[in-house]
């Protein structure tokens, strides 16, 4: 690794540790830099050092960690994100250590207050919130905030502490320990998956308000500005996505539709994110405002298709807004719980919820459902566990939750099976299937890179604006070393390579922190060979170039990738030591993928399903690429030594967990 500079650049140098049952102390970031980069890397190190086996999510000892990275709060494009890590109440069947990403402006503000991260342990006796104003940190009474939604909590704290304060908060769902409770900031940015809102609720911590008047220094400002500018220019339409995002003039006039940055330093007009300033309430009175991005447009339903309810835009917006306010996880509700409820109803297992007829075309039904979940009223007590647990708890239609929950208590995502929105075909979902098999959560939060290339640019999805298959294969050859990795006529060959590669890219994004929609930059519309590059920097090295300019570290590209692999292995070691993670665990995703796929590969002409034996061999390849033991799926002594994790190997050995 590179030598540490005398002064830290990129990082602020301090981590805040708050024990809600005890002291508030500061820790030197230098303890973790540069090797663990930031964000997810710091959290993995702390999880390994400080979470002993046997600790569960609602145990006061479970640390709730909020980490930024060396790029957060700087001019680096798409860098405003925060990684939240903890033991997860949503994860199933193991409540293991995992993470969630969050946009908004909170992470940068934490750095301006002087902190690279915040680790909360313990439990307050009464409801409290944290008020961080630069170096002044106070635990304040929150009796007046407890019971409020995420919007009003933020508005009250802004009225109290000033408009510039940035806030993360839980709604009623988090207070009542719903296992799909989110941590929310602004209207719709959230640490969504994982149920971390319930971890916050279990600590009696309602909100964390931050105001920072300091800043972040970068090591080589002129070079950094130049690189930021080049990458910003490159990562725009038509390079970052094939079709130019446009506002809908009717939606602009009627609902005040506008472009909206989900996170600080987002310099692209996003194809996903929109803000609406005035959407009339359908169920109540007045108008609602807020953001719709990612999954929430699905609340309205898609008449022709799997999600075939029809709420219409206004009611869909209102339901989405209430889900945000209660602090409930959109993805679990829309891709997991509702499809399961629909199937239960269709099979005649369930007609109503506590007397409330199941009618997905009626916004009143949706709002009543959300309220039941947030307050755990009646059947809402079980539903608050998310669709995966509710099916098991109620002993109801588990055969209908299996096809929509890919693994680990998370509903399908870009895997060709449970997720009926994101069009992906065999053999490409073999890669996402492997990503799922090896992760501790839905891997797509920072793992869209492969699907973005093979499907996002494909003649299937964007026949006129995208790339040809030959061009996608040429990009695949540059990035993955073989055309087979992105060949729609291929099968199981060369699919482990992109799964490993994107595993590391995911670590880097969550550690630096930068956005998943944009990074890593692979395909381009403006270069001759369709590989992204700018000013002599290859697209996939953009993050590296931003990191070295910001921190001033003389780290090679190989050392940077080595750091990502090291973090990936340390996370695996935490799961092995604390939760018995093994190849057997990884294989539990197979039965889900053995069902018939949702879409047809035009080169094959019929739907495919997973071939278990071939996938097992693909898993062998994956473990071999990682230097892990094929039989147990665990990191070996040699691998851990090569990653300078000898002490981790020693401890795994003591537990009898070293292959």
């Amino acid at each position: 690794m590179g030598e540490k500079s005398e002064e830290l650049y990129g990082w602020t140098g301090k981590i805040l540790r708050v024990d809600l049952g005890g002291e508030i102390v500061e820790e030197e970031t230098a303890k973790y830099t540069p090797d663990f980069i930031g964000g997810r890397g710091f959290a993995a190190k702390i999880a390994w050092d400080e979470i002993p086996p046997g600790v569960t999510p609602f145990d006061p000892r479970n640390p709730l960690m909020f980490f930024t990275g060396p790029l957060t709060g700087t001019m680096a494009p798409f860098s405003g994100r925060t990684t939240v890590s903890s033991l997860s109440p949503q994860a199933h069947p193991h409540e293991w250590f995992t993470r969630a990403g969050m946009g908004g402006h909170w992470g940068p503000e934490l750095k301006y207050a002087g902190y690279d991260g915040l680790v909360v342990t313990g439990k307050a006796e009464r409801p409290v919130y944290l008020w961080i104003h630069d170096e002044k940190v106070a635990v304040r009474e929150a009796n007046d905030l407890w019971g409020l939604g995420t919007y009003e909590t933020q508005q009250r704290l802004m009225a109290r502490h000033g408009k510039d304060v940035k806030i993360v908060t839980i709604g009623q769902a988090g207070e009542n320990l719903s296992r799909i409770a989110v941590i929310n900031t602004e209207t719709e940015a959230a640490a969504g998956q994982g149920g971390f809102g319930a971890v916050m609720g279990s600590k009696n911590l309602k909100a964390i308000a931050v105001r920072g008047t300091g800043g972040v220094r970068v090591a080589r400002p002129e070079e950094f500005l130049e690189r930021c500018t080049l990458i910003t220019e490159e990562a725009r339409y038509p390079n970052c996505w094939p079709r130019q995002p446009k506002l809908n003039p009717q939606m602009v006039a009627k609902y005040g539709q506008r472009f909206w940055a989900c996170t600080q330093q987002c310099t692209a007009r996003c194809r996903l994110s929109r803000y609406y300033t005035k959407v009339p309430s359908v169920v109540g009175e007045g108008v609602h405002s807020g953001q719709l991005h990612c999954v929430s447009p699905l609340f309205r339903g898609i008449k022709e298709g799997f999600y075939n309810w029809d709420l219409g835009f206004e009611a869909g917006f209102e339901v989405s807004r209430f889900a945000n306010d209660y602090g409930l996880n959109h993805w679990d509700i829309l891709l997991g719980l509702i499809p399961w409820l629909m199937a239960c109803k269709e099979a005649g297992l369930l007609e109503h919820l506590d007397g409330l007829p199941i009618d997905l075309d009626d916004p009143h039904f949706w709002l009543a459902l959300l309220k039941k979940m947030a307050y755990r009223e009646g059947i809402g007590d079980a539903l608050a566990g998310g669709g995966r647990r509710a099916a098991a708890l109620l002993g109801l239609g588990e055969e209908f939750s299996d096809p929509v929950y890919a693994a680990w208590g998370y509903a399908g995502h870009w895997d060709g099976h449970g997720d009926h929105v994101n069009h992906i075909i065999f053999p490409f979902w073999l890669v996402t299937g492997l990503q799922w098999a090896m992760d501790s959560r839905d891997p797509l939060s920072s793992g869209h890179g492969y699907t973005a290339l093979v499907m996002g640019w494909s003649p299937i999805r964007v026949p006129e604006d995208g790339l040809t298959w030959e061009e996608i294969m040429a990009v695949g050859e540059k990035v993955y070393g073989t055309t087979q990795a992105t060949d729609p006529r291929s099968g199981y060959e060369a699919k482990a390579i992109p799964a490993v590669w994107h595993g590391h890219r995911s670590v880097l994004k969550d550690s630096l922190t930068v956005d998943d929609t944009i990074f890593p930059r692979t395909a381009s519309k403006t270069t001759a060979d369709h590989v992204a590059r700018a000013g002599g920097m290859e697209g996939p090295t953009f993050e590296y170039h931003l990191f070295t300019s910001a921190t001033g570290l003389e780290m090679s590209l190989e050392e940077f990738d080595w750091a990502a692999e090291r973090i990936f292995n340390l996370e695996r070691a935490v799961l092995v030591r604390n939760h018995g993670r093994s190849r057997e665990t990884d294989e539990t995703v197979i039965s889900y993928l053995e069902r018939e796929e949702n879409w047809v590969n035009p080169f094959l002409g019929e739907r495919q399903s997973l071939d278990r034996q071939k996938f097992l061999r693909l898993m062998d390849e994956y473990y071999e690429l990682r230097g892990w033991d094929r039989g147990s799926g665990r990191p070996t002594r040699d691998k851990l030594d090569a990653l300078d994790l000898g002490e981790v190997a020693d401890e795994l050995g003591e537990h009898g967990l070293l292959p």
Binding site: T74, Y151, E186, T213, R236, S289
Partner: protein, 149 residues
């Protein structure tokens, strides 16, 4: 060739709240990514949806300059902006009180008043703005810009 009269224009409706302008301003002028040290501020409005941009309009008759008891704020013709002469400034902050737009700011780290000096005629905020919410241009360009040109 005569110098074009260029000014900074804002279109709040196009601002999507990325704060690129704010961070770049502080980075360029104070060597630090610190919004508290920026000469342009954006009031984020996450619940209403239209952010508000605050920056110096370079008034013809500048109340900040008039309020300054030591004449430390002077007009720079080449570039057409009001600048603070820190050799003369006594730190009384009367300029902050005098500015009707609230765009004479206090930098808590540098312990000094700061205002937009247009980066001496090439404002970085407009250069980095990804949405065209900020425009550095003359009146004709502004008219074209507001028509959506």
């Amino acid at each position: 060739m005569t110098e074009r009269k260029r000014l900074l224009f804002a279109n709040s409706k196009a601002c999507q709240g990325c704060l690129s302008c704010v961070v770049a301003c502080a980075q360029r002028n104070e060597g630090m990514s610190a919004p508290s040290r920026a000469r342009i501020h954006v009031d984020l409005e996450p619940f209403e949806g239209v952010h508000r941009l605050h920056y110096c309009l370079q008034c013809k008759a500048a109340p900040c300059a008039e309020a300054c008891p030591v004449d430390a704020i002077h007009f720079v013709s080449k570039g057409r902006y009001w600048a603070v002469d820190y050799d003369q400034c006594i730190g009384c902050k009367q300029c902050i009180s005098a500015c009707p737009l609230g765009v004479m700011f206090y930098d808590p780290i540098g312990d000094k008043v700061i205002k937009c000096e247009t980066c001496q005629g090439d404002p970085i905020c407009a250069r980095v703005c990804p949405t065209g919410a900020l425009l550095w241009g003359d009146l004709a360009e502004r008219r074209n810009y507001q028509k959506g040109g």
